[in-house]
């Protein structure tokens, strides 16, 4: 019999360039925050599961599950690193949820950690391209931004999206990021700034792309009926759903739709017994501006080819009809790949608790959705959280 699961504590580092901190230090910082918030000892944690895309290629360090447990002084607690490229964090959350829901464990730490700035940017580009199909995409010179650029070119062709509308995604995310002390970028930008930034992969410019960040995030999961032991404001995990699709764009039914997102969203809403209208805010995977547009459509908030109209109307800002990425998203908030999926959940939790600082609190937020994508859509995880 499945148990209801709640998030009882959260922690997150600032996302950005942490020159003096390695993978273990970042894990420590986020983990300690969560443990202190829950008022427990680390030793109470029964199982650690965290997302990390590529300790191996970024730092030459694999076997990071046990390593993190060791550094936190938690051996012999079982510790597992999961990998699903940029969806590693979301998938770790799904695994942690299963561990508690199944009755296997009563207190689980779910984390996401990535240390990316120890390598040169061109090396990071190469490592990230491993999230695509190596043999039939990366091998021919496709980059990660390049694959999303292929989607963007086709989307613009099919639906008439203009670069200046696409730029609004970044402008909004920087605006939200300016209010988030943990964001990688806290500067506000204009459409002009986006359109005058150099191309990374046409039609995507530098300001259409998320940065390369270091960072970590952590949440503690417990059965709902035990949650009050740790917090007065447990946040209920209404649903978590994960789906997969082809790694490459070659055999997609429609390159402008991430079917994995569609499937995960359908499953999640059914599991949560909620509708799109019940959602007060969303954290979506905007690794590139075009990805945020696709996400709102594929999650079912808009019909295909319609989402960008929300941006023309400013409806995705805090205070709008559907606030999107109130922490600045990946674009301004930062993208420490394996940590992102968990960081999104941390933001939703803060919003539902009414603790989002800097003026970015969504009034009366009851239900929030987090959407985490791996690669160009081969993995998608959709999580729905609720205050009640």
């Amino acid at each position: 019999m499945k148990r209801e699961v709640a998030i009882v504590a959260v922690g997150a580092t600032k996302f950005g360039e942490h020159w003096s901190k390695g993978l273990k230090d970042l894990a420590w910082e986020a983990g300690v925050q969560a443990v202190e918030e829950a008022g427990i000892s680390g030793k109470d944690v029964q199982y650690i599961v965290f997302g990390n895309m590529s300790g191996g290629m970024f730092e030459g360090q694999e076997h990071v599950g046990a390593l993190v447990a060791e550094f936190l002084g938690l051996n012999p607690v079982p510790a597992t690193r999961v990998e699903a490229a940029c969806a590693s964090g979301g998938v770790a959350f799904f695994q942690g949820y299963l561990a508690v829901a199944s009755g296997m464990y009563d207190l689980v730490a779910v984390g996401g950690i990535e240390k990316m700035t120890d390598v040169e940017p061109s090396q990071a580009t190469e490592i990230l391209s491993a999230a695509m199909d190596y043999e039939w995409e990366a091998y021919f010179g496709a980059t990660f931004p390049g694959v999303y650029a292929l989607i963007a070119t086709r989307y613009m062709h099919d639906y008439g999206l203009k670069p200046e509308t696409l730029a609004e995604v970044a402008v909004k995310n920087h605006y939200h990021g300016s209010m988030n002390p943990l964001a990688h970028f806290r500067n506000r930008i204009t459409v002009e700034d986006v359109l005058s930034s150099p191309f990374v992969a046409y039609p995507l410019r530098r300001n259409d792309c998320c940065p390369i960040s270091d960072g970590a995030a952590c949440v503690l999961l417990a059965p709902l009926d035990e949650a009050r032991k740790y917090t007065d404001t447990p946040i209920i995990v209404k649903a978590v759903a994960q789906a997969s699709d082809t790694l490459s764009l070659l055999e997609r039914r429609d390159i402008c739709t991430l079917d994995a997102t569609v499937h995960a969203a359908e499953k999640a809403f059914a599991m949560a017994k909620l509708t799109r209208k019940d959602v007060d805010l969303v954290e979506v995977h905007d690794c590139f501006t075009i990805a945020e547009i696709l996400a709102l459509e594929d999650l079912g908030f808009c019909a295909k080819g319609e989402a960008f109209k929300l941006y023309e109307e400013g409806e995705t800002y805090v205070g709008g009809r559907l606030p999107v990425n109130t922490d600045g998203g990946l674009k301004a908030g930062g993208h420490a790949v394996g940590a992102t999926g968990v960081k999104q959940i941390v933001e939703i939790v803060k919003q539902l608790r009414g603790e989002a600082e800097g003026g970015r609190q969504v009034d009366g937020a009851e239900v929030g959705l987090a959407h985490n994508v791996g690669g160009s859509g081969a993995t998608a995880v959709v999580t729905i959280l609720s205050r009640r």
Binding site: T125, E126, G141, L150, T153, V200, E251
Partner: protein, 154 residues
């Protein structure tokens, strides 16, 4: 591309050199990348290797300005998602074409190019890329043969 060893380059070498995919005799469908089993017919399928014509249209494209380490020296270069005449889509670079000239729907044909060179005297990887189709060469014969007739008259 330094992370992968030589055998890995070699395993898909024929497919890269000749643009080989899979054809299912049962459902008369072509597939790329190559398959062990027909995704439609499953075990009922009768699959065989097929060499594609190499002709197709640009389904989407991008111009890479920031390349990964292996491809840095080639920037800016065009990447196209190509829909082959036979149906499947493949991804590769579009060469002999200026970035401002590429467009969705453009007819392209496969050509044989260098994909990259491994560092430090490692192997050279070759494979298919695409270039705009230009059948104008047929007209050159009319000109050439007319010129020949002129010369013979004088």
């Amino acid at each position: 591309m330094s992370v992968s060893g030589v055998p890995r380059h070699w395993r898909s070498l024929r497919e890269r050199y000749r643009l080989l995919g899979t054809y299912c005799e049962n459902c008369k469908t072509s597939f790329f990348p190559p398959k062990k089993i027909c995704p439609k017919c499953r075990r009922k399928g009768r699959t065989r290797e097929v060499e594609f014509s190499g002709r197709g249209r640009v389904f989407s494209y991008t111009v890479i300005h920031v390349g990964s380490k292996t491809f840095e020296e080639y920037t800016p270069y065009i990447i196209g998602l190509i829909e082959l005449q036979e149906g499947p889509r493949v991804l590769s670079q579009i060469v002999d074409c200026k970035p401002e000239d590429v467009h969705i729907g453009m007819m392209v044909e496969a050509c044989f190019r260098k994909l990259f060179e491994q560092e430090d005297g490692g192997i050279i990887s070759y494979g298919f890329k695409f270039r705009p189709v230009d059948d104008s060469w047929a007209e050159y014969y009319d000109r050439l043969l007319a010129d020949r007739a002129m010369v013979e008259k004088t």
